[in-house]
């Protein structure tokens, strides 16, 4: 079948201006997008730059945007993208500096962020130098360890397009892999590193990353696990700690959330500047008769029973 690839081009050694080249090639049924790229480079244009390594969907090196969605070109079948016509667009990832054509800067995209989470283990010292853990303790972790850092989760992330300095699900998944390793004696420290701004608390937990992960590692659930771990051992991010403590206190005391209280306590009751910041929104809400008044919050029936469950669960975690 004849397929036309519309490929993003950019050559820093020429004018560096982005453009697009169209290449039409004949491909057999079952061909992948990468087969198309290799054929273009071998037969039509040897200057076309793209990455590929394992050719079997296990290294992530060949990720580009195929018809505007990130895909590994080595596993993306051409037939899946030509239902509307024999044309396929290929682009580098969004928000990342492009080196040449489809080759983008992986350091900026992911490696610098992985370095930032301190991606190594601080094992406990043992007499014989070995650190043996029971198999069951590694069961869930083994799934995370199968991450080959393809970066598809970062490509799908909702936060990165508005703030590229966010660490992103790939690096945070790496942090999870280390924080939950039973051999890590610096487990809490590992969580504190990603509690800093641009880390776990900047994640919107929208689960987009999980939809994009080709290995079903569920990066969002890993981030949520890190947050739960932080909550249970005392959140070190100041603003988030205030917010979560207030949320927990109102559920514990009344069974449900006192939103007015949450708004003021999230700013901090002694933070005059922060509280002033709430005023315009509160005034507008009041004028529409909808500002929840802090601490004027009725208990739910059975609030005492909910409190009992809450406290027991907290105790159990300690």
């Amino acid at each position: 079948m004849q397929i036309t690839f519309k490929v993003y081009r950019k050559d820093p050694e020429k004018d560096g201006k982005p453009g697009r080249s169209n290449y039409t090639v004949d491909l057999p049924d079952g061909a992948t997008v990468l087969d198309g790229l290799l054929k273009i480079r071998d037969e039509i244009d040897s200057s076309l730059a793209f990455r590929a390594s394992c050719l079997r969907g296990t290294c992530g090196d060949c990720m580009v945007r195929v018809n505007n969605s990130a895909r590994l070109t080595c596993t993306a079948k051409v037939s899946a993208y030509t239902q509307k016509g024999p044309e396929i667009s290929l682009d580098p990832l969004r928000n990342v500096p492009v080196n040449k054509d489809l080759v983008f800067d992986w350091d900026t995209f992911m490696w610098n962020k992985i370095k930032a989470v301190k991606p190594w283990l601080e094992g406990s010292e043992t007499a014989d130098g070995e650190n043996i853990v029971p198999d069951a303790a590694m069961a869930d972790l083994r799934k995370v360890m199968s991450c080959y850092q393809c970066g598809m989760c970062d490509e799908g992330c909702t936060v990165l397009p508005v703030d590229f300095n966010f660490l992103g699900p790939a690096a945070l998944t790496k942090a999870d892999r280390l924080a939950f390793d039973p051999r890590n004696k610096a487990s809490r420290e590992q969580v504190k590193i990603v509690e800093k701004p641009k880390g776990i608390w900047d994640c919107v937990h929208c689960y987009e990353a999980d939809e994009h992960c080709p290995r079903n590692i569920e990066p969002t659930k890993r981030i949520v696990a890190l947050r739960d771990k932080a909550f249970n051992s005392g959140i070190s991010h100041e603003a988030v700690a205030r917010h979560h403590a207030s949320f927990a206190a109102s559920v514990k005391e009344s069974g449900w959330l006192d939103e007015g209280r949450l708004a003021v306590e999230s700013e901090g009751l002694t933070n005059v500047k922060g509280l002033m910041k709430l005023l315009p929104t509160a005034a507008k809400a009041l004028s529409r008769g909808k500002a929840p008044i802090p601490y004027m919050h009725a208990k739910r029936p059975d609030a005492d029973k909910i409190k009992k469950i809450f406290e027991k669960a907290e105790q159990e975690e300690k």
Binding site: V204, H205, D210, H237, E259, K290, P292, A313
Partner: protein
């Protein structure tokens, strides 16, 4: 047709216009609501699972005793409860542990049979679209509407179970816009996050998301956006003026709750749907609607 109704805190707190609108719409449709009053907060994705799974299991056990499925009107309550329910149904040992350690004291037990459904799903899967169509008194012709789902009505997959409904559920709101006679102003971020969850950790990023979604909707010529999630509403409506200030671009897009949107098509007056309680003025929507009837 009867449900154990879980309205969620925001429908009476930050968005007090939502609860009465939902109750009126349900009444008009003939959906009976038996409100779950003596149950706890879902945790909203803020509190950790080890605390909220037992509290949610208690809610499911209460609904099970009533013999009713749960109906929510909040994507966040829906998503958090559905994920907890999935864990409790999927793993009988885990359910037994929660029952033994947390619910047995009260003589409660969750057997794993409760379903949790958002009003949007109820309309399509239980109530029936033909029946809804037969009750439309004011087709919303001439109105352009953007859908905005809220993450948890689309992801993660175990919150959308049964899996056979997964794909169709991703387009219910789009379908509903057509069914109620309006025209869709589609936006690329309709299934993305509104930014609400990071409002306290990173307000700037949160507002950038508000500006992106509402701005795109406005550019597509929408009269308003409709959302089944009151937390999205809090950010998209309540913080829209802050998002305008951050980007220096006027947006001025009214955001309607799902029951208000359905209610207008069922013939309710905009006042009965409490449109005046929104932060972004709904005057244009109200005048267009009043010209229809």
């Amino acid at each position: 047709m009867k449900y154990a109704f879980y309205p969620g805190c925001v429908s009476r707190g930050g968005c007090p216009e939502l609860y009465p609108s939902a109750v009126k719409v349900a009444e008009k449709l003939g959906i009976e609501l038996d409100e779950l009053k003596s149950v706890g907060c879902t945790g909203a994705g803020v509190l950790p699972q080890n605390i909220t799974d037992p509290i949610n299991a208690r809610t499911f056990a209460k609904a099970e005793q009533m013999g009713l499925p749960i109906m929510t009107i909040c994507s966040t309550c829906q998503g958090v409860m559905a994920q907890a329910n999935y864990r409790l149904k999927d793993d009988p040992n885990y359910r037994d542990k929660i029952n033994r350690e947390y619910l047995a004291d009260e003589g409660l037990e969750y057997k794993g049979t409760t379903e949790v459904k958002h009003l949007l799903w109820v309309l399509f899967e239980d109530y029936g679209i033909e029946r809804l169509q037969s009750l439309i008194q004011r087709p919303l012709k001439g109105l352009k509407v953007s859908p905005f789902y809220g993450c948890f009505l689309r992801r993660p997959p175990e919150a959308i179970t049964p899996t056979k409904e997964l794909n169709r559920r991703k387009s219910y709101l789009d379908e509903l816009i057509n069914i109620l006679g309006a025209e869709m102003a589609d936006i690329s971020g309709k299934g993305k996050c509104c930014g609400f969850p990071i409002l306290s950790a990173n307000e700037e990023n949160s507002l950038a998301m508000v500006a992106k979604h509402t701005g795109e909707s406005k550019e597509k010529g929408a009269d308003f956006m409709v959302t089944p999630c009151p937390l999205c509403h809090l950010n998209l409506d309540g913080n829209q003026s802050k998002a305008e200030a951050q980007t220096g671009k006027e947006i001025d897009l009214p955001i309607l709750h799902l029951p208000q949107f359905v209610g207008l098509a069922l013939g309710f007056d905009p006042n009965e749907m409490n449109l005046k309680r929104h932060i972004v003025s709904t005057a244009n929507v109200e005048s267009k609607v009043s010209m229809m009837s």
